[in-house]
């Protein structure tokens, strides 16, 4: 199997297949760490995403040793995988919510309500982010870093080597675009 370090290099060079493989590999790494955490904590993801990302980075870099890219580069790629993980987790979790058993039925409502016709918000979010990624990948990455991975604006500004103000402005743009695209 190709090493992660190689995938990073090829992906940086614009190899789409490598990017895809890299995403899948990082997703899997994140998931393993998350699942270990889930087993420890009675089914609740108590670790923050940032910690999860960090733990994963440590695990990989220890294994791949010197050849492994720096943290900033790792985070750039892993943030997208983190989004995938959280969304899949939310989907699975919702699916796992066992039947009627955990649904809190309302007092005084003996008649089962029909499922709401409202759009599925989770899927809406997924859709919005996909479209944002098509319109402006840089802003989509920002959403992954801030919303999904929990990095502060200061940290992201550091990662990208720009000012915090720029990141704040980008964040507003991302938010506006998402709302606009979904409207």
């Amino acid at each position: 199997m190709t090493s992660l370090a190689t995938l990073f290099d090829r992906s940086d060079a614009g190899n789409a297949q490598a990017s895809h493989q890299l995403f899948a590999a990082l997703y899997d790494e994140l998931r393993q760490v998350a699942e270990r955490q889930l087993r420890r904590s009675d089914g609740r993801l108590t670790l923050g995403a940032t910690t999860l990302l960090h733990e994963t980075y440590l695990a990989i870099s220890e294994r791949e040793a010197a050849a492994f890219p720096d943290r900033a580069r790792f985070i750039g790629y892993a943030a997208k995988a983190m989004r995938g993980l959280i969304i899949d987790y939310a989907r699975a979790r919702r699916a796992t919510k066992r039947g009627g058993e955990f649904e809190i039925t309302l007092i005084g409502d003996h008649e089962p309500a029909a499922p709401s016709g409202a759009a599925d918000q989770l899927e809406l979010v997924v859709e919005g982010l996909t479209r944002l990624g098509e319109v402006d990948p840089k802003l989509a990455d920002l959403v992954d870093l801030h919303f999904f991975c929990g990095f502060s604006f200061v940290e992201i500004a550091d990662l990208r080597g720009v000012s915090e103000r720029t990141i704040q402005r980008d964040w507003r743009k991302a938010r506006m675009l998402l709302k606009g695209l979904l409207a």
Binding site: F23, A24, R36, R39, S41, R44, T46, L47, A59, E62, R63, R83, I86, I87, D88, Y89, A90, R91, A92, R93, A95, T96, R98, G99, G100, E101, F102, E103, I104, T105, L106, I107, G108, D109, H110, E111, P112, A113, A114, P115, S116, A118, Q121, L122, E123, V135, D136, V143, F147, F148, G150, R172, K173, R175, M176, L177, L178, K179, G180, L181
Partner: protein, 910 residues
């Protein structure tokens, strides 16, 4: 909005950058100018800017994991007199939150530690609070004060601590490159704090760098004094004795003294050892018995087994483990390795050697003695610790404690899980993972539904719709678990539950019927019973309550004959049994069953689970259905407190909504309003696919109307009715009725006609279930023709069965109140008085107390009006006065009804 693609955005983005930097006033002219040269772009800019004006989309504001329900957020939860603000830390003991006092008595922020103890029982709770108040008396400038210790209404133990803003002592020292003398100086403050606590007979038991802070003003603060002990005592003892004493201990392996690890009595000397480790690390950057990068188990073994490396050796290049960091470590201390070695050789070696003795009796006996020696070192006087103390070998200690040593190894194994320290060794982790996967494949008991779904989602990164996922999952189960009947049944049950949740009882029943055949051929009684009980749930949703009752009864009968039935199986059966009773119109039987299940969960200390919430909520629901609203309120209040344990926002909202519905039924409208406001706000950001959203909006509208906020009420009813299907027929019919009532009051004929038609349409479909709503609509609209209003109303009420007890589960009161009001309005005071008096009596029965129900107040107000109409002045005055307190409580003191009762009372002369 206007379609936007990559190229268009490239044009737009620089403009957005520009406009976002402008002040609000400058934007207008800027946009005008842009419109002049590029009208289309200007329109887009405006559209985007407008998105910031609307409601904020909560899903993008917070933290994804919490938002999507992957992680519960406790922000805003109330712990005693405090409200949680934001998480500031997470540790083995529990999470730490920044919080503020919610009674306005103290301005500053505190840190609240939520302890991972599970819920504590009453006895433990008392001890916990008592012990906490003892610790709260510990007052020392270098000790972070324990402000309070308590247990939330939901049973979550918590500690309120002085919030220290600052840096960890070790990081503080490293960042400032403090030299050894400065480090010892700070450490002496730590010793002062420890000495003060020891004088009060409090042992810290968990001294480590993360527990020592340097506050912003430079004061050293020791955190968490005595808390380790508090936690041990608060830990609920398990009846089966599986929780070993040693594994229950709260300590940090790297800093724990040997006797703490082996489970022997701890004393002040235990703290001395940890202090020794800490000073050693502060001065050298290394751990006395290991590198610190090992597993907790290795740290613990080393503490018992390994003699510490002499401090002056630890800082000498080439003498200790690779990688050699002595240069860097020395630089962080503004020194060279040579200089450090010279400083430490001799006296400091001896001081630390004595503090780190394996045998507690050979250590410094007090923190003062430790401090004295350090002070002597700083002032170049001879120290009390002798050089020979270093060379002393601890073999004797180890021999003497061989038994304890073994216990420690076991404890260490369980601590890996308990402390949440990741096992770094790769191969070990991989072996564990493989084992877990293998186990998941083989053992039916641990088949994880999530595993199946994850595997499907893995396939080539393809996206699946929810339904596809479900169907593929089902196929995968049939395929992969062909040879494993138990696993197949287990997964079939999980899939069936999802189908049920998606209101697809047919698919659920089909799956379960097939499982029933497998279970029967398997011959396993528990699986046979389990499948029947699950099938009952599907049958209930298909509308066959009687068959469901029969299935549950059979299942329960099978289980009764078995030993060692999984508690979950019994509970699941009874929960479905309760539902069957409810569907069969026997809420009292249902309530009894739900209560039994809840009690079993409670007895098993299993109260943090959602099953418990579910059982308890169903108990509340059944009690409400049986018109035992006061009891429903009590259970509902408990659920509000427990709702913080719910893992998804809608469970929490649902629980609070239910309490609001119960209080509404008891006439506590102000209370209901107070609880609904925040969850309505929360719900804006929560996943809205659930049918709960429209129901919440309707309930909110209903209480807003009670509170006299009619326009808002109309707004929310419209929102709720916009999703009539999601509202469910019962709530929908009520929503139309409320809307019709408001329209009638406001003289809006068009709206009235529309909504009363809605009541009729839905009401007919619901058959008898909507009788109260249809009846109320008629009561509201009966015309006063030929002065026979009283007779007509009497006929209406008779038709509804007024004489036959209380058929409408609380709605009867509404009928009586409407009847009384209409009769008073029409001048039929004698008839009105009769209904008002009955209503007052009924409302009193259905209230917490006579003075705590707005419904009692309303009835008394009508009674007063009727008495006044009949010229019974004293009766009217009395009733109007009596209405005051319940109206104030029920609607809030500022409500117009309170003023109305007062003016009525005052207008009646003596």
């Amino acid at each position: 909005m206007t379609p936007l693609d990559r190229d268009r955005w490239a044009e737009l983005e620089p403009l957005m950058d520009e406009v976002l930097e402008l002040s609000a006033e400058a934007r207008g002219p800027w946009l005008d100018a842009l419109r002049g040269r590029a009208p289309e772009l200007a329109g887009l800019v405006e559209e985007l800017l407008a998105t910031e004006l609307g409601p904020r989309a909560a899903w993008i504001e917070g933290d994804a994991a919490a938002f999507f329900g992957a992680r519960p957020s406790l922000a805003g939860q109330v712990m005693g007199r405090y409200t949680l603000d934001e998480p500031i830390g997470q540790g083995g003991m529990g999470s730490v939150w920044l919080a503020h006092r919610n009674d306005g008595r103290y301005e500053g922020q505190v840190a609240i530690k939520l302890l991972n103890l599970g819920l504590v029982g009453r006895a433990a709770e008392q001890r916990f609070v008592q012990e906490g108040s003892l610790l709260a008396r510990l007052n020392h400038p270098n000790i972070a004060k324990l402000v309070d210790a308590g247990v939330s209404d939901a049973g979550q133990p918590f500690l309120v601590l002085e919030y220290i803003e600052g840096e960890r002592l070790d990081e503080y020292a490293d960042h400032r490159r403090l030299d050894p003398r400065q480090r010892i100086g700070l450490f002496l403050d730590v010793l002062k704090a420890v000495a003060a606590a020891h004088a009060n007979l409090v042992v810290h038991r968990d001294i480590k760098p993360s527990n020592v802070m340097v506050a912003k003003d430079g004061t050293v603060k020791l955190l968490d004094f005595g808390i380790a002990k508090l936690i041990d005592q608060g830990r609920p003892a398990k009846g089966d004795g599986t929780l070993t004493e040693a594994s229950g201990r709260a300590f940090t392996p790297e800093y724990a003294a040997p006797e703490a690890i082996t489970g022997e009595p701890v004393s002040t000397a235990t703290d001395i050892y940890s202090l020794g480790v800490m000073l050693y690390v502060l001065l050298s950057g290394r751990h006395p018995t290991g590198t610190g990068a090992d597993t907790p188990a290795a740290s613990m073994l080393a503490a018992i087994n390994t003699d510490p490396v002499r401090l002056s050796e630890a800082v000498t290049p080439g003498r200790t483990a690779v990688p050699d960091t002595t240069d860097r470590d020395a630089a962080a201390r503004s020194a060279t390795p040579r200089r450090l070695r010279r400083l430490y050789l001799g006296d400091l070696d001896n001081v630390l050697g004595r503090a780190l003795k394996k045998n507690p009796a050979e250590r410094y006996q007090t923190a003062e003695a430790f401090a004295d020696d350090l002070t002597r070192y700083l002032t170049d006087q001879p120290v009390a610790a002798r050089p020979d103390s270093w060379g002393y070998r601890s073999r004797k200690f180890i021999r003497r404690h061989r038994a304890g040593f073994l216990a420690a190894t076991i404890a260490a194994a369980s601590l890996i899980g308990a402390t949440g320290v990741a096992v770094q060794q790769k191969n070990l982790a991989e072996r564990q993972r493989d084992r877990a996967r293998e186990a998941a494949r083989r053992s039916a008991a641990s088949v994880s539904f999530e595993t199946v779904l994850f595997r499907i989602m893995d396939q080539g990164g393809k996206k699946f719709s929810y339904q596809e996922l479900l169907d593929r999952g089902r196929e995968a189960v049939e395929r992969e678990y062909r040879g494993e009947p138990a696993g197949r049944i287990q997964l079939a049950i999980q899939f069936a539950q999802i189908y049920l949740r998606r209101n697809d009882p047919a698919n659920a029943a089909e799956l379960l019927n097939r499982s029933l055949a497998i279970a029967d051929s398997l011959g396993d009684m528990e699986w046979k019973a389990k499948t029947r009980c699950e099938l009952a749930a599907a049958v209930i949703k298909s509308g066959h309550a009687d068959s469901a009752l029969a299935l549950v009864a059979t299942g329960r009968g099978m289980l009764a004959g078995l030993d060692n039935v999984n508690a979950g199986t019994n509970n699941a059966c009874d929960l479905n049994g309760g539902d069957a009773w409810l569907a069969a119109g026997q809420p009292d039987s249902a309530a009894r069953l739900f209560e039994q299940v809840s009690e079993r969960y409670r007895a098993d200390a299993d109260t943090l689970t959602e099953q418990y919430l579910f059982a308890l909520n169903n108990n509340a629901r059944a009690l409400y259905g049986a018109t035992r609203i006061r009891e429903a309120r009590t259970v509902g209040r408990r659920l509000v407190d427990l709702s913080q344990n719910a893992s998804d926002p809608w469970t929490r909202i649902g629980l609070i909504l239910n309490f609001a519905i119960a209080t509404d039924g008891l006439g506590e409208f102000a209370t209901s309003h107070q609880f609904l406001g925040p969850i309505v706000a929360d719900s804006a950001g929560a996943d809205s696919t659930t049918a709960r959203a429209p129901a919440l909006r309707f309930q909110y509208a209903s209480v807003l109307d009670r509170m006299g906020l009619t326009d808002s009420a109309r707004h929310w009813i419209d929102l709720a009715l916009a999703e009539e299907a999601g509202l469910g027929p019962i709530f929908a019919v009520r929503a139309h009725l409320s809307a019709a009532t408001i329209a009638a009051r406001q003289g809006n004929r068009e709206a009235f006609a529309r909504h009363s038609a809605g009541v009729e349409r839905l009401g007919q479909a619901l058959n008898t279930k909507a009788r109260p709503e249809l009846g109320l609509l008629r009561l509201l609209t009966v015309p006063n023709e030929n002065g026979n209003l009283a007779a007509q109303i009497r006929t209406e009420l008779d038709t509804l069965g007024l004489g036959a007890g209380r058929p409408y589960q609380g709605r009867l009161l509404d009928h009586l109140l409407v009847a009384a009001e209409r009769l008073n309005d029409g001048g039929f005071f004698a008839d009105a008085l009769g209904y008002a008096v009955t209503a007052a009596a009924l409302a009193t029965t259905d209230s917490l107390t006579r003075t705590q129900s707005g419904l009692v107040g309303l009835a008394l107000l009508e009674q007063a009006r009727a008495a006044a109409g009949l010229k019974d002045r004293s009766g009217a005055r009395q009733a109007a006065s009596a209405a005051d307190a319940p109206l104030r409580f029920g609607f809030g003191p500022g409500h117009r009804l309170v003023a109305r009762a007062a003016s009525l009372r005052d207008s009646i002369g003596r």
